[in-house]
């Protein structure tokens, strides 16, 4: 299950965190209807900025380092187009995800229903503990046009054990917090696991020339 997610896909060296800490790479995907603000949330988080965005083509990939007290986490963020023509391609992107943001627009009820459908699709693909899911109600700045109440969404999230947060990419409300919540949840999930089941921290999942012992420690993931 989780192990395969940490397959050493590439040899790029990520060297930011102190070597005494644990370091992890997690794949995070943004899912939801078109125009709910997925790309804007990613842009806000990675660039701390907002601008009128254009529909995403295919997929966009960002990375962001999160330094927590006990570990350094590299989030690989996949922003998908969510357009129908890419549907066949889309599931590839969430296939090995560790966390998903299910985004809807609080001012468009239909997008909330769509988020529920996405959830059902994820439930087919993942075991309950495999994936950290955050339900994100975006565009809180449009409160006057709200169609989905906080309570309604919160209750739904609770029933499905999802984390629930509301954001505004435009007015920079709670966007970083969403990703921090994901990082903490992933780490918590990590610590709850049996040591034997733990994924290889990235430090050990690739060849490190400074650490000769690593060369003998074969990675037997997948």
């Amino acid at each position: 299950m989780f192990k395969k997610n940490m397959a050493p896909r590439r040899t790029q060296h990520v060297g930011a965190g102190p070597s005494t800490e644990q370091s992890y790479i997690y794949k995070v995907v943004l899912l939801g209807s078109t125009a709910v603000g997925k790309s804007s949330i990613a842009f806000r988080y990675v660039k701390n900025d907002f601008r009128e965005s254009v529909p995403t083509m295919g997929c966009s990939f960002f990375t962001q380092l999160v330094c927590l007290e006990t570990a350094t986490i590299k989030l690989e963020i996949w922003d998908t187009a969510g357009q129908e023509k890419y549907h066949s391609v889309c599931h590839l992107y969430y296939r090995e995800a560790n966390a998903a943001l299910l985004v809807y627009d609080i001012a468009r009820k239909g997008t909330f229903a769509r988020a529920k459908l996405w959830l059902r699709e994820l439930e087919k693909e993942f075991l309950p503990d495999e994936l950290v899911i955050v339900l994100v109600g975006n565009k809180t700045d449009l409160a006057a046009e709200r169609e989905v109440t906080f309570e309604e969404a919160e209750e739904f999230a609770k029933s499905k054990s999802l984390i629930y947060m509301e954001t505004s990419a435009k007015s920079n409300h709670q966007v970083t917090e969403v990703f921090m919540a994901i990082a903490h949840a992933l780490l918590k999930q990590e610590q709850q696991k049996e040591p034997a089941l733990r994924p290889q921290p990235w430090k050990k999942s690739r060849v490190d020339l400074q650490e000769p012992s690593n060369q003998t420690k074969k990675c037997c993931v997948n």
Binding site: S39, R51, S53, G58, C59, S60, Q83, E84
Partner: protein, 549 residues
């Protein structure tokens, strides 16, 4: 620059034969002549081309079958035919030249080269018919038609709207109905182009089953050129869906609403139409190179070549629709149309500026049945340098992403980043560098390399309208030079605002704009000087040594 390495003898080819004299097949001439063989002209690659060889403009639009219906005669008529068309063109041109200067366009009065395959229907009548039931739509439609130079619609063969350049498809659906009626009326031949002249407009239909594309234009473009643009729109749609998927969809459900699938990509088509109206790349069927020192370009190309991966087919470095470098798999050639579609995709979306994009894309001229996967990213935050890596494997994101990293690392190690940045700061050169006083602007295309060069458009073409007018003049010359029934190899015109010259040979195409004060003799001698200049500067203006993995 090192002009002296190019010996003079090369162009002294007997009798204008296309084959260079024995013993000096690779000699590069200093100034090309009409007899110059393809591959010897300035800008021709020294080690093969990067693109599918497109011999002529017609090749671009005729992939499988007769795109252009009105091919009533073979190329190259007798002198007499040339003579009459020269006169007609002369009249045409001066009309065009004055009218584009500001007078109202009136296409009704325009000379029409041939009457075959055209119908002089009154579209007014047709429109009235359609508006009988939908009164309010009429106004929207009329207004739109009045306001815009070129309206473009795409519809399915079942008459369902797919795309409309201006205004909502719903508002125009009655018009679509009329168009469908016309299309079925004209439908004798599939994949044919038909056109109607009416009401000051040219209405051009291109049918590419399961789609029908329609343009309503008041521009001076020929039907062929308008059809050429419509085909670009068709290919643009294929690039998002693939031909296979498109056909499959309509086989399953004839009246499928394709807008659902294309949602979010309308702006790519909008952008393509805008781009075609101002960027001569599409007219020339060629790519423009960013001018830079040959040594720098070679280094960059080598870095790009070395950052390869198994699944990569093309690595393309570009800056604002100008090509910096292109590396390809040894046996694979890119088609200029596919490259233009890629350029358009990139220029239509600011979202590629952040992060790394990984998007399925079909290159319809290369293979219309499947998707490639394009890795798109900008190299530096504030630099207009975009790297496009085309892979065959959708699972290969991380490998391809690593190619980008390796490429950047090599650039740094070779210490060319700074020089590259400098080159990007001067993406255009001034025509004054050529040193010909009456010369205002030119477009030179090397046919064998599929590349063209052109200086910055300068005064008096300052306003957008003036720039547009210059391009329209080139379009006009181009259409005359490539007229399928009466192609002309040499055209010279004097107009009130400028003089123009076109020279089309098997090896190159040259379009030159002079001030209106010069003489024909001066223009002709300027061409020789210009060609020598291009030859001297060719290693900066073109990619002479394209690389393969």
């Amino acid at each position: 620059m090192a002009a002296d390495i190019h010996k003079k003898k090369g162009w002294e080819v007997p009798n204008g034969s296309l084959v260079p004299a024995d013993g000096q097949p690779t000699e590069r001439s200093e100034s090309p002549t009409p007899g110059l063989a393809q591959g010897m002209e300035p800008g021709a690659g020294q080690e093969g081309a990067m693109f599918v060889h497109t011999r002529s403009y017609e090749d671009l639009t005729s992939p499988e079958d007769g795109d252009v219906v009105s091919r009533s005669s073979e190329e190259g008529r007798g002198d007499q035919a040339d003579q009459t068309s020269i006169e007609q063109i002369s009249k045409d041109f001066s009309e065009l030249s004055t009218q584009l200067t500001g007078m109202a366009l009136d296409l009704e009065e325009e000379m029409r080269p041939s009457q075959e395959d055209k119908m002089d229907l009154s579209l007014q009548t047709a429109r009235r018919d359609s508006a009988r039931s939908e009164k309010e739509d009429e106004d929207v439609t009329m207004e739109t038609w009045r306001m815009h130079q070129k309206h473009v619609f795409v519809l399915s063969e079942a008459g369902k709207p797919v795309y409309s350049r201006y205004g909502s498809e719903e508002a125009l659906s009655s018009t679509m109905g009329v168009m469908m009626a016309l299309v079925s009326f004209l439908e004798a031949e599939k994949n044919a182009i038909r056109s109607i002249h009416a009401d000051g407009y040219k209405v051009v239909f291109v049918r590419r089953s399961p789609l029908v594309l329609v343009a309503m234009a008041r521009t001076r473009q020929s039907e062929q050129e308008i059809a050429h643009e419509l085909l670009y729109i068709y290919y643009q749609i294929l690039s998002l869906l693939t031909w296979t998927q498109l056909n499959h969809i309509f086989q399953q459900k004839q009246n499928y609403d394709l807008r659902r699938l294309l949602a979010g990509s309308e702006r790519i088509t909008d952008n393509l139409l805008d781009l075609m109206a101002r960027d001569p790349s599409f007219l020339m069927g060629a790519a423009r190179c960013l001018p830079m020192a040959a040594g720098l370009r070679d280094t960059v190309s080598t870095c790009l070549q070395q950052a390869k991966a198994k699944s990569l087919v093309f690595s393309i470095l570009l800056s604002r629709n100008q090509l910096v470098s292109l590396v390809r798999r040894k046996d694979q050639f890119l088609h200029p149309i596919d490259l233009h579609l890629l350029f358009n995709l990139i220029s239509s979306s600011s979202s590629f500026r952040e992060g790394e994009a990984w998007t399925p894309i079909c290159l319809p001229k290369f293979n219309s049945s499947g998707f490639f996967h394009a890795h798109i990213s900008y190299l530096e935050q504030d630099m207009d340098l975009c790297l496009l890596l085309v892979s065959t494997d959708r699972e290969d994101f991380f490998t391809v992403s690593d190619c980008k990293r390796r490429f950047q690392e090599r650039l740094r190690k070779r210490g060319v980043s700074h020089a590259l940045q400098e080159a990007l700061r001067t993406p255009f050169y001034s025509v004054s560098q050529v040193g010909i006083p009456d010369l205002r602007h030119f477009i030179y295309k090397s046919k064998s390399s599929g590349l063209f060069t052109s200086p910055e458009i300068e005064a008096p073409y300052v306003s957008e309208e003036e720039k547009q007018r210059l391009l329209e003049l080139y379009q006009y010359l181009h259409s005359r030079a490539h007229n399928s029934s009466r192609p002309l190899k040499n055209i010279y015109f004097t107009g009130p605002s400028e003089n123009l010259l076109a020279w089309v040979t098997s090896a190159f195409e040259l379009y030159v704009c002079y001030s209106p004060l010069g003489t024909k003799a001066a223009a002709v001698s300027a061409v020789n000087k210009l060609m020598k200049w291009i030859r001297r500067e060719e290693d900066q203006l073109f990619i002479l040594t394209p690389q393969t993995y």
